[in-house]
Symmetry: D2
Subunit: 347 residues, 4 copies
């Protein structure tokens, strides 16, 4: 952090800044002789220190020069994080393909979808048991019953599963069932929830908030990491912009940016990122071409019967086509498709 003093600042004002820094356990190295005096701040700063320093007399501007996140940064850990879930390795050469229905609705729907996505080559199952819903009058998920359906599908197919947890109180329950806990976009700054999943040891996938900058996203990751849980995966799922044709604007540039700034694996979710099934495949190809570690795709046996997010769900057939189109793209950027399982789970 650099404190830029006003042109006409006094010695007293300079001393005031140094004093204020000392109160926060920080040192200030003064540098005069330029157009203005600039004070370099040494020590662990945080975003809001800037606000405080800007209020001091004689200060013109305060400029952050180091990043406010640490544990999530590639400076802190140069090699990429690798997460192992059952037989699946996230963050390695093999793509992670998470697929399944938006919400678990019936045992048959979950089982049929799990079998279909496995057959097409997905290596992780998704499905919502606790669903965030914009309106109180909509479907909000089956809760524990949904978790049981997903667990059954795992037993049948061998696919580990990921499911969303909405509130700290449910973390224990969801962690009993799920292989990966999902923090949804609306909860990216639900700090109590971040703390709670950070205290556990189940892998976590943190989705980017709808209006979160990349820096804020990494700060939310920092919450989880700083509680001790290092099994963390990020998911870009689109940001809110003025464009109305799509539900969100999938920010594919976030993928190489995260790869540069952080060691955490990152996948893309073109289903939520676009909101329209016919855009899912081209955006999925783009996500992988841009260097993502994987994809998350909504698949439903009958999208027009789905209780939630049917418009962005692929049919089994469309998902299979996506996987076929994906294979050469993955190869072209040096990624392996998930190895198709040997169907040993009784299909």
């Amino acid at each position: 952090m650099l404190v830029v003093m006003k042109k006409d600042s006094t010695e007293q004002e300079l001393a005031g800044v140094i004093r204020k820094l000392a109160q926060s356990g920080l040192n200030g190295h003064m540098s005069k002789g330029m157009e203005r005096t600039v004070i370099g701040v040494v020590g662990q700063t945080y975003p809001e220190l800037r606000d405080t320093l800007e209020l001091l007399s004689g200060v013109d501007e305060v400029i952050p020069i180091s990043k406010p996140y640490k544990l999530s940064s590639r400076e802190f850990q140069p090699e990429g994080t690798v997460i192992t879930v059952g037989d699946v390795v996230i963050g390695g050469d093999e793509l992670t393909v998470i697929a399944g229905p938006c919400a678990a609705e019936t045992e048959k729907q979950v089982l049929d979808t799990a079998r279909a996505v496995k057959a097409a080559g997905a290596n992780i199952l998704r499905g919502g048991a606790f669903k965030p819903s914009t309106s109180p009058y909509q479907f909000r998920g089956l809760g524990k019953q949904g978790l049981e359906m997903l667990a059954l599908a795992r037993a049948e197919t061998g696919l580990p599963f990921i499911t969303e947890v909405l509130t700290p109180h449910d973390v224990e329950l969801v962690a009993e069932y799920a292989d990966i806990l999902q923090i949804g976009a609306r909860n990216m700054q639900n700090f109590n929830l971040l703390d709670e999943v950070g205290k556990g040891r189940k892998p976590v996938m943190l989705k980017r908030g709808m209006s979160a900058t990349i820096q804020e996203w990494l700060l939310s990751a920092e919450y989880i990491l700083s509680q001790g849980n290092r099994q963390l995966l990020l998911c870009e799922r689109g940001i809110r912009t003025f464009e109305t044709y799509t539900r969100n604007t999938l920010d594919i540039s976030a993928i190489p940016i995260i790869k540069r700034l952080s060691h955490l694996p990152i996948i893309g979710d073109p289903s939520h990122g676009t909101g329209k099934w016919h855009l899912v495949t081209p955006l999925a190809l783009a996500v992988v071409a841009a260097g993502a570690d994987g994809l998350m795709i909504e698949v439903h046996p009958n999208p027009d019967q789905a209780l939630k997010d049917g418009a962005q769900s692929l049919t089994f057939e469309n998902f299979e086509q996506l996987m076929q189109q994906l294979a050469p793209v993955a190869a072209s950027v040096g990624r392996r498709m998930p190895i198709k399982p040997e169907e040993e789970h009784g299909e």
Copy 2:
């Protein structure tokens, strides 16, 4: 909701839409003879029904024509909601002026601020005990100890107080102390939290999410109202845009829009809405001129010593000036300033 069929849709496709509606307990009234066939949907619809219907064969577009919120709408309740907290009436002719520090830090800081804002004419005290914080390395509030400081300040000054609750688990505790529960911008779609405060009977203030449309905001209000709690107040606090000079862009148009669409009282928060103390007063005047029921203003004895949000906090002196400038503006739009208390509370 209107279902617009494609130009070349068939009778079978029409029948399919009608059948699908019937499954959801809705009726469809067909209307041919126009350029295209349009089906009017009768019954209580919800946003995601649109997605489902758009997937049906022969459907070109689905258009919502009624609003997805009900209990929060002015159609449902033409007269404005009035909330009574102690001697304060929110939603009447008298402005509600909520003022105080971002966070409760020390007993002295809270008490001094409470006395100062009361003397200047505020009628409700604010102060954070549980603070959301972008970084895990920043101050997150004093918790219960902070609540006790605020309760003490209430006892001393007679001012009721509002404070934020971050997670369902804390609702009971916070409700024991506070007069109004605040749901912050980051939690506007924390639906479990909305449910929880909706089950209680303490008045709630729901801030608009950083990237929430007005319709989504009213749907979040609907969560609280539909649980039975009708003591609900809204607060516009700025939305996220591309402009970087301000922390957020205060959307003052939201004030007359909410007045038109809803019966709920609405106030404005120019402190968070701008992030800069020197913009607070002009925006506060604008908020009241636009028809708001009140204001929420951050005030701190020493903004440059504040643990949080100092840059947007007013000094006691600046807050007093704001109140003086506000008085004629309030009068010019037919609002009364809060009656200054008779200092009967031992100051």
Copy 3:
């Protein structure tokens, strides 16, 4: 501008930066001894120099510390600019109220509106002769014929008029007729047009672009000022955000910000800023309460017959009510309403 070197940067790299600065006619003052070496750049910099310096070996970050605009800044000219157009003084104590139809359609429409807005207290007439239109199939204005109608209305009522100019080629023609040339939001970065109106001596009103930051807006102002034309007025008319209820989001915080950063007068346009007539009056009051020098309001004899922007136009009656409501608000912030003319122009 500050050049922050990487922690491990070498002497050669430092020398490279100094050399690069020298090539651009700038000096670099080095300051070591802090956590990192920082080079202060002395001389007139420009935004893209930052990009260039960031590419140099050993450079970590380049940070602008002075503003890239100069002639439009309050540092350059502490006292506010005052523009005199006929009897109207823009930027003084008296509010400037510009009113009239979106587009000049017929002689009668223009004359009737001019008389009505004058009677209600407006002091400048507006009306479009050259209209930007999103679709090529819509009305694009009457051109010279429209200018003649506006000139006739000026002759009849004594009101000076403002009208938009769309392209450099038309500047001469429009300047022959109009008292103030308007640069619309879509042309805020039409730099050839800015040059052209900058070369003339007719007062200019520069609207903010739909997605322009305040800094970009002031840089566009700089184009006009640097060509020699100092008769410049700014107009906030709403920015593009994710909210869809309003056509744009009127950024009222821009008003006190411009007052702080610049000496140029600023007015607000709640008609384009909201796109809905029923929001115009509350937002107009807010604009004035926030400290604007005036307003621009669309008024039409029959909004439902308007060829353009009827939905945001006020009827004569609604405009008269707006002016009545505005008077006490203006007074409450120390502004005088325009003096109503003595009707000496034959009405």
Copy 4:
């Protein structure tokens, strides 16, 4: 367009709407018997008709159901537009790769770059002679001299070139030299300029405006097409969002959306779309994977010496690597790389 009447609308109000439509040369087909009466509008409508109809008494809402653009739509022309420029076919199986410096600076710089990008496999040269520049104090291009440098490079290498035109007055001059005229993002709604390039027969590339919706972009395309010029190409170059890490947010979803809605070829510009050279290659791969017809890439012999946009320019070596990485991705989505020329132009 559908006009939805209020629940309690009267026969007179219905008749008023029908009358109003008739005045605009449109028919209205009434359809009662639903929850509300809905009037279907038959005939060519335009966006602002909606505003006008919404003002009529008894009208609740007006809903567009047909697209306001026509000539640019895939309904109008199901097969994709193909543009032939010299030996290059845009919109076919072969990718179009446009590369070159942001601005033409010196003969040597342009020639060296043209040779390098040709050798690496680009098939069109880019270079700015007239440059839009946010600040009046920055480099604005060499004008005619720049055009001559580009023409010389074309003569030397055989590469056709594209360059931007900023103002209607320059269209004739630029068209004399260039093979394709570029309309930049800032001019997407410079309607006089659109008219002017629409009247000519030189191919045009229309970049998306920074805050333009896809519909507005296609309406701007409509301006050019409706003047008779059908040689039109679109270019996605990023939209303005709240994210500050990138200069813009490249909206890759626009590529499959344009492919669906329109017959016009579309390419992506990851240089402007990100503003950082190290993001160009991953985003270029993503653009092609998503189905684009080509790319536009900034390349400079010495990015750190560039007069403009050095930070987003690739070196010759980096561009060559990009092309090598692109080849398998292009193949994986069924596209051919441009055929490398037989170096017959004296290199």
